[in-house]
């Protein structure tokens, strides 16, 4: 069952600031589904973007059946932390990545926190 579920998941989605998204798009992960209902698999977040918009994009990406990995900048993940903490499904894998201005902090990562909790640290 899980084989058929995960078979079509071939894209990597990203929610991030402009620099991160640009870099990842340069690597070639960007994909725009052809119209009708064209949708991008990336969202650029700047200081003006509200948490509700981020959350909407997050919900959309985790519901899409063709996305295997969802990358999200850690400082953006902080804004919808409650949403990420409650997300426990295996597909798509949500990955917190550092951005240029915000170095990576393992203490904030949802998965690493789970790891820590399991080993009682």
């Amino acid at each position: 069952m899980s084989a058929s579920v995960s078979k079509d998941r071939q894209f990597i989605a990203v929610i991030g600031d402009e620099d991160s998204v640009t870099g990842l798009l340069l690597a070639g992960i960007g994909h725009v589904t052809p119209p009708p209902n064209a949708s991008k698999n990336f969202l650029i977040v700047d200081t003006k973007t509200g948490a509700d918009k981020i959350e909407a994009a997050f919900d959309e990406f985790i519901q899409r059946k063709d996305i295997g990995i969802l990358l999200i900048n850690q400082h953006i993940a902080e804004k919808i932390r409650y949403r990420i903490d409650t997300y426990t499904a295996a597909f798509p894998a949500v990955l917190e990545i550092p951005s240029k201005d915000h170095p990576y902090e393992p203490e904030k990562d949802s998965v690493l926190r789970r790891v820590r909790r399991l080993f009682g640290e």
């Binding site: 899980s2 084989a3 995960s6 078979k7 998941r9 071939q10 894209f11 990597i12 402009e18 620099d19 991160s20 998204v21 640009t22 870099g23 990842l24 798009l25 340069l26 690597a27 070639g28 992960i29 960007g30 994909h31 725009v32 991008k40 698999n41 990336f42 650029i44 295997g68 990995i69 990358l71 426990t88 499904a89 295996a90 597909f91 894998a93 990955l95 990545i97 550092p98 951005s99 240029k100 170095p103 990576y104 393992p106 990562d109 998965v111 690493l112 789970r114 790891v115 399991l118 080993f119």
Partner: protein, 258 residues
């Protein structure tokens, strides 16, 4: 006493005793198997968590390098958000994709991501054509490597999430068998045994009673017969004397036979 404990609703028969015994045996085998499975998974799980920790740190470094490379590009192409805009607008189809494979660990299917590159289409053919084309190329390579690291990390993380779930389920089963099913079955066996013993004792007592009753009846009958004889004794005294003589004669015969 064992009847009041936690047990299954069965009739105390030998058949159900046999059933319960085989059930207990099955539960014990299942318990040991599940326990072993849980141990194997936990071992794997620990390995994965360790690797996740390492991979996350590595990712931090790789992303930093990639960000620096992008900064170089921005500088080379003349700065501004021009590059970002150009890149975003020219995106059409993904060149860098992932596919999933299944890996079997003690009966649990763990998916792993594998990155591959669709050849032949490049959406960014014109990016940095004017200036900094070399930097753009380099940046693409660096980011490509970074994404590979991320994909690796994503596989680990997916495995982590799935294993976490599976281990929970297996441990729950192990505990259920150990603390609920086995004691319950043992209790049922005890109950059936005691019930069967009770039935045995009852049967024995009944037989004893029946025998006692028969004995009493016999005695009563003997007494009655004797009384009858006594009543009639005066009339047939002589014959009785002969009768006793006969008995004596028989006794002698018996001894001879022995």
């Amino acid at each position: 006493m064992s009847g009041t404990g936690n047990r299954e609703a069965v009739f105390a028969t030998r058949q159900s005793l046999g059933l319960m015994k085989s059930k207990l045996k099955g539960a014990e085998i299942g318990h040991s198997l599940l326990k072993r499975k849980s141990e194997a998974l936990t071992k794997r799980f620990r390995e994965i968590t360790r690797r996740i920790d390492e991979a996350k740190r590595k990712m931090g470094r790789v992303m930093q390098i990639a960000a620096f490379s992008l900064a170089e590009v921005t500088y080379a192409t003349g700065g501004g958000s021009n590059l970002g805009y150009q890149v975003q607008e020219s995106v059409k189809t993904a060149r860098f994709r992932v596919r999933t494979k299944q890996e079997n660990v003690s009966g649990v299917l763990l998916p792993t991501f594998e990155s591959y590159i669709v050849e032949g289409n490049s959406d960014f053919g014109l990016t940095g054509l004017g200036r900094g084309g070399q930097q753009v190329q380099k940046c693409r390579e660096v980011y490509g490597k970074a994404v590979e690291t991320l994909v690796e990390l994503a596989s680990l993380q997916t495995a982590f999430v799935i294993l976490d779930d599976v281990i929970k389920v297996v441990n729950r089963r192990v505990n259920a068998i150990e603390h609920v099913i086995i004691p319950r079955t043992e209790n049922t066996i005890k109950y059936i045994n005691s019930e069967l013993d009770e039935l045995d004792r009852e049967e024995f007592y009944r037989l004893k009673k029946v025998q006692g009753k028969k004995h009493r009846d016999q005695e009563a009958a003997d007494k009655e017969a004797k009384a009858n004889k006594l009543l009639l004794g005066d009339d047939i005294q002589e014959s009785e004397v002969e009768g006793t003589g006969d008995v004596l004669g028989e006794k002698e015969d018996e001894e001879v036979i022995f």
